[in-house]
Symmetry: C2
Subunit: 259 residues, 2 copies
DNA sequence: ATCAGTAACCTACTCATGGTAGCCAACGCA
DNA sequence: TGCGTTGGCTACCATGAGTAGGTTACTGAT
């Protein structure tokens, strides 16, 4: 499933061939569009969003800018479309893997494998796009992230039917945390190519599963007390130091010697 | 309450006053620089990186562009400097809070409180910068993130001295995961202003602590086998059904801060 | 054949914005 | 009163997104 993707470059080559088949340089709209998308993907991966100029894209495709704009709307829309595809694929992969696993206790693991498998198949692209680069990338990345979070929330609910004790209200929060943790691990893995897929996926599972388990046994209202054991009814935490808010770092704003 | 930070706007006002004190428009370099930084911070928070133009910055400060460029180098350097400051402050806050906590079992919680406290104090800024927007933001955000990860790794090591069984090699991975999880939670919290600090911090702790605990009881080489029980040699640390899921904190990891 | 009408493309712009070259003026000091 | 240093300015360049308006080749109906 992962190597269904002939790697960006190969896809470009394929569509380019198809285009070359057309004699007069006049290429049907849909094909041209596919070509533009393919070349754009390669370009973005290669240069990053900002360094990739629409002029260069047009040049590589072998048409003039207005053609590109007519086909894809704008640079941002173009990028968005590409991310959309990636998100679709990732989402489908993970969802399928998780739902295919019958044992609820192993679903997390299945999801982890699928996720990191996907990332592995696109190490370059993932690294180039998710971290490091610039531009409305962040917007698009935000969207891909949002969708992952939604998916995780959905799968959480599907897997662990919210009992009266389960903090259903916080599924979203948990989904955000999981998504973040996985993304973080992916970023780490990106720089540790020698670590095998099984290990990352295993690490992720080991790290996350117990927390989920523990969470299931808690009542919603426990969180506050977990941290401030003395303040169940009244919102009167303030155990000793009470870091966070004001305590530890007196932060002297205006005197800040910004250098 | 949490506004130990006079909020970006106030800081601008302060430095602006200071500038106004100087009669003939001619303002000493360092002061002007501080003004530019303050105004820039406000601008970035308000507009996001890309929408904030250097022309507008110069206009707001009341000088011409070359002056701005002379003072801060470039737009990216400017942004970088601002993020640097934020990272410094966040890092110092969290580190102090964690190290101030003597009980190793509560350090995570202390860190969580500090972290979310910081975020709360800058809800707007954090939201505007960490997610959503564009530009070399990502680069800078990447840096702030990197430093948080380093810090977490450092604190992990400091708190839970790596025994022979502790997967010291993976501290970095764990740090990445934690950073991601916290960031994810922060993003979620950003849209749930009614949730009190204690609850987010508690949630984070509950979610993360058991995993760390479980991890401490595993051997490095187990990860692979955890996921694929038949894969590696033969080490079988009670694979059972699911890794840490089986029982919350099955083994009692070391708690020997003094090594 | 021919003559719309349309689909694919192009040249040549505008406009916004990051960044710079080179000039000028006020202040402090001998 | 000259004179260097420092703070500042006007006017410009380069790049890159996006567009206006025209042109050529292909189609299908007369």
């Amino acid at each position: 499933m992962v190597d269904t993707d002939p790697s960006v470059a190969a896809r470009v080559a394929a569509v380019t061939d198809e285009v070359a088949a057309h004699p007069h340089g006049r290429v049907p709209r849909e094909l041209r569009r596919r070509q533009v998308l393919a070349v754009a993907e390669a370009l973005f991966v290669e240069r990053g969003y900002h360094q990739a100029s629409m002029d260069e894209l047009a040049r590589r495709v072998g048409v003039s800018k207005p053609v590109v704009y007519d086909l894809v709307g704008s640079k941002e829309q173009l990028f968005h479309a590409l991310m959309q595809d990636a998100a679709d694929e990732l989402g489908a992969t993970v969802r399928a893997a998780v739902l295919a696993e019958q044992d609820p206790d192993r679903r997390l693991e299945a999801g982890a494998r699928a996720f990191f498998g996907f990332v592995a198949g696109r190490r370059r692209a993932w690294g180039a796009l998710m971290s490091g680069d610039e531009g409305p990338v962040t917007t698009a990345v935000g969207e891909i992230r949002r969708r992952q979070i939604e998916l995780i929330a959905e799968l959480l609910v599907a897997t662990e039917p919210a009992g009266p004790h389960a903090p259903a209200r916080f599924v979203d929060a948990v989904a955000h945390a999981l998504s973040g943790a996985f993304e973080g691990l992916a970023a780490w893995w990106h720089h540790q190519p020698d670590v095998p897929l099984e290990v990352v996926a295993g690490l992720a599972t080991v790290l996350v599963a117990p927390g989920l388990e523990a969470l299931g046994g808690l009542d919603v209202d426990d969180f506050g007390t977990v941290v401030a054991p003395a303040a169940t009814g009244a919102p009167a935490p303030a155990p000793g130091p009470t870091p966070g808010a004001g305590g530890p770092s007196p932060s002297h704003p205006q005197e800040d010697p910004t250098r």
